[in-house]
């Protein structure tokens, strides 16, 4: 008697389905028109740490044969070098490779003034080397031969160096890392930084002050004396807003790799992303033979699209699209809109979590707002912050409970507590120089106060377990939405193509009209699937 098969209720009514699809269609059509019709870039063309560096050398000669040498960077840990080009100005240019390092050599008769240049692009990402603890293998023979012995520049066999090592009472030779650390600490802490001070290792040691290069040289010298192969490194410090400067540091051979360290720039076992390695193995910069005078200069430009370029790129030759482009707006308005236009995406995610998955969370948009507020934080730190502040708040509320205060003043006191907690975090951030914590001051406090209150009510009314479970789900949703707000691609997409908000609305219509089961329905009623029989 039953009908053939339970067709099942339609999961969505037709008008909603059509409305949703229509909106998605409109949004995507507009988007597609801009992307394919006018070639607007879909991903932001503005990678971090991309630089264009140019070395310009001017030499003057009196007609003798001579040469100019300059260290050239190679791709390696933390940097990719590409798109090189040279202008040799009547000289013959060649690149020589030695010990994995590259040197540019310009040869010829040096007559009058030659303007030589060498330019390249480099992508800097920083590098982090694992420094093995405990005992490590000794260095291979060729490394030891090349970088283990004394040289005039690094007089590792001088009695002064041995005297210093003696006074350090170093761990046994096999514990390379421990030895490395104590020698590094000595140079880092006990030798003052002084820009004009000597570059000579022994003078630096005697005066207890040295330049960046002097301290690095002393470090190399002491390391070699202690049996750890070490070599000097030269490079460039590239930072937005500051002129490019030459930098010197050291590398020590630990286990099976070179570990960068600098007693002046304060790094150990990592390469800051501002540093470009030009040459490892010597402090030699640009030098000339047979010239009467030489001068050189590095120029560095952060390779990025200027706002104008980007705007021009995002402004297709179509009056309608130009009129609608947000890139026409003043920059400050743009910044606000960039953030604002991400919210629909967050809301879309939220709707998915609530209506398709069915996760219970605190508040409807609270997770979205928290994820939004955490935009400038590393996620783990941000979630830790939220949890910590809520912990403080909930404890405070338990105490307040005894005073039997009315709700609004009580909430206000809670907010004061939250403010104090955030302030304490900021102080902490200030002292530990952790800028991320410091940025916590901007954390929207009201949101947290509401969260404290909601958490406490659920805690009291439905028990610890429910409160924690719901809190956990809220954090899960925050963590899931967080990457959306973090993504520069998403920001670029939503700002450059605001019509996508219409598509998002379409998706929301579809989600809103979805009357099928949520994931949590399936879990809740799973007994209908199988387990009824056994119980009765």
């Amino acid at each position: 008697m039953r009908k053939a098969a339970p067709a099942g209720p339609a999961v969505m009514n037709r008008p909603s389905l059509l409305t949703g699809l229509l909106l998605i269609g409109i949004g995507l059509a507009f988007f597609a028109w801009k992307v394919w019709g006018y070639d607007l870039p879909v991903v932001p063309d503005d990678p971090e740490g991309l630089w264009r560096v140019e070395l310009v050398i001017t030499v003057r000669g009196a007609g003798e044969r001579g040469s100019v040498r300059a260290p050239l960077p190679s791709s390696g840990p933390g940097q990719i070098v590409y798109d090189e080009h040279s202008a040799a100005d009547r000289l013959r240019f060649e690149i020589r490779r030695e010990e994995g390092q590259r040197t540019g050599i310009w040869r010829g008769r040096l007559r009058d003034i030659h303007e030589i240049s060498h330019g390249f692009q480099v992508q800097l990402s920083g590098a982090r080397m694992e420094v093995p603890g405990g005992r490590v293998e000794g260095p291979p023979a060729d490394i030891l031969r090349l970088y283990g012995g004394p040289t005039p520049r690094f007089p590792a066999d001088a009695p002064e160096t041995f005297a210093v090592l003696e006074s350090l009472s170093l761990p046994p030779p096999a514990e390379v890392t421990a030895r490395l650390r104590s020698i590094f600490a000595l140079v880092n802490h006990e030798i003052e930084d002084a820009e004009q001070a000597s570059e000579d290792a022994l003078i630096v040691l005697a005066n207890r002050e040295g330049s960046e290069r002097g301290k690095a040289g002393l470090l190399v010298t002491l390391l070699r004396a202690a049996g750890i192969p070490a070599r000097p490194v030269t490079g460039l410090w590239l930072q937005r807003g500051t002129p490019v400067t030459e930098a010197s540091w050291a590398e020590a051979w630990v286990g099976d790799q070179w570990v960068p360290l600098s007693p002046s720039l304060n790094f150990f076992g990592r390469l800051p992303e501002e540093l470009l390695v030009l040459h490892a193995g010597s402090f030699e910069g640009v030098t000339a033979v047979g010239a009467e005078a030489i001068s050189y200069r590095y120029h560095a430009l952060r390779e990025r699209l200027s706002p104008e370029e980007l705007a021009a790129l995002m402004m297709p030759p179509n009056p309608l699209l130009q009129a609608l482009s947000l890139y026409r707006l003043p920059v400050a308005t743009q910044a606000a809109l960039r953030a604002l236009l991400l919210l629909p995406l967050g809301a879309l995610f939220m709707a998915m979590f609530r209506n398709l998955v069915g996760l219970p969370t605190y508040g409807t948009f609270l997770p979205v707002l928290i994820a939004f507020a955490l935009r400038d934080f590393p996620l783990a730190l941000g979630l830790g912050l939220v949890t910590g502040v809520i912990g403080v708040g909930v404890l405070g509320r338990l105490v307040l409970e005894r005073l039997r205060l009315l709700m609004v003043p009580r909430l206000s006191i809670l907010m004061c507590m939250v403010v104090l907690a955030v302030t304490a975090l900021a102080l902490l951030g200030g002292t530990t120089e952790n800028r991320n914590l410091f940025a916590g001051v901007l954390f929207p406090i009201v949101i947290l106060t509401m969260l404290v209150e909601r958490f406490s009510i659920v805690l009291a009314e439905e028990g610890t377990r429910e409160a924690l479970v719901r809190g956990l789900y809220s954090l899960v949703v925050v963590a899931a939405i967080y990457p959306v707000f973090q993504s520069r691609t998403a920001e670029h997409l939503m700002f450059g193509f605001p019509e996508l908000v219409i598509a998002v609305m379409g998706w929301l219509v579809l989600i809103g009209a979805y009357t099928g089961y949520r994931v949590t329905d399936l879990v809740r009623f799973r007994a209908f699937g199988s387990r009824w029989r056994e119980a009765s």
């Binding site: 209720p9 009315l406 009314e461 429910e466 399936l522 009623f525 209908f528 699937g529 119980a535």
Partner: protein
């Protein structure tokens, strides 16, 4: 997704569908205050001559608290609750006095101060659905009918009937346990036992989503208990549903030892766990009601049709 298929075959109603096809469609927002606010519910019931717990005192503002505590002083036992509380939150049952002190849930002694503070929190909106200012109300404490009292621990068991377009479609009783702290709230560990609409007998029971046959505290058998006067109870539930004007409503009643069925509250977004307690999906019954429905069906007709729904599905 074999589970999804099984649910669809059993006609289980999911949250999205409940919201879209039933509560949003049949319960216009304008009618919600009538059930969200228990004072208004009480008024509706009184106008329709439907029994509900006696109202002993109300405090709408903080300055009325003194008056409220004076009334409490004169009372032996009562229930203090928010007018717009959600999910049974903020309900405080006082079961007697020991000299100056009141006896709260779990025989916890309570001072008058505690009660006043609780009332103040209620007025501030702590337990209200959306945190808006609320009213604290004091009601008579109902005496649970012995049939149900026997299988409930330490609290007031209630009976939930879902009324769809004036027809009772499913019912269950919620039995407090020690675990639920005396509250008839399934999420907090109360037992839910489905009631066969035709016979008025409990048929199945679930605890935390798992089938149980006996009460976890007392060990009493939960199956086949007949709810006394169930037909009358259904009738009262349907009349309350009519008074609310909602098309899809959960009516909560308490079976009082002396007064019989009494309307406790109504819910414009009744939960779906009732399907687990009955081991039946709601959808086939809702569809049957839609197919059968005509304007001006009499009360008796509708109750009888509801009972037949239980029968046709019992097999």
């Amino acid at each position: 997704m074999s589970i999804a298929r099984a649910l669809r075959e059993a006609g289980v109603l999911g949250i999205n569908r409940r919201n879209a096809s039933y509560t949003l469609r049949w319960n216009p927002r304008g009618l919600h205050p009538g059930v969200d606010d228990k004072l208004q519910t009480k008024r509706l019931c009184e106008q329709a001559g439907i029994p509900s717990p006696k109202l002993l005192a109300v405090a709408r503002h903080h300055f009325e608290l003194r008056e409220l505590s004076r009334s409490l002083m004169r009372l032996e036992d009562f229930v203090l609750k928010p007018a717009r509380g959600a999910m049974g939150n903020g309900i405080l049952v006082v079961r007697g006095r020991e000299g100056e002190r009141f006896v709260g849930p779990g025989h916890r002694p309570l001072a008058l101060d505690d009660l006043t503070y609780h009332a103040a929190s209620i007025i501030s909106g702590l337990y209200a659905l959306a945190g808006q200012p609320d009213q604290a109300m004091v009601e008579e404490r109902l005496r649970v009918h012995p049939t149900l009292a026997e299988i409930a621990t330490d609290g007031v068991p209630d009976i939930r009937v879902i009324i769809y377009r004036g027809v009772p479609v499913m019912a269950m009783t919620r039995l407090p346990t020690r675990r639920s702290g005396g509250r008839a709230n399934i999420h907090q560990g109360a037992v839910a036992a489905g009631i066969d609409l035709r016979t008025g007998r409990t048929a199945h029971a679930v605890l935390e989503g798992r089938a149980v046959a006996r009460h976890p505290d007392s060990g009493h058998n939960l199956m086949g208990r007949e709810i006394p006067g169930f037909a009358a109870l259904l009738e009262i539930a349907v009349r309350a549903g009519d008074a609310s004007q909602l098309g899809y409503v959960g009516v909560d009643l308490v079976l009082d030892a002396n007064r019989g069925p009494v309307i406790l509250e109504m819910n414009a977004r009744p939960g779906l766990a009732i399907q687990l307690a009955n081991r039946k999906g709601l959808l086939p019954r809702l569809d049957a009601v839609d197919a059968w429905w005509k304007p001006h069906r009499s009360l008796e007709e509708r109750v009888a049709f509801g009972a037949s729904l239980g029968a046709s599905r019992a097999k």
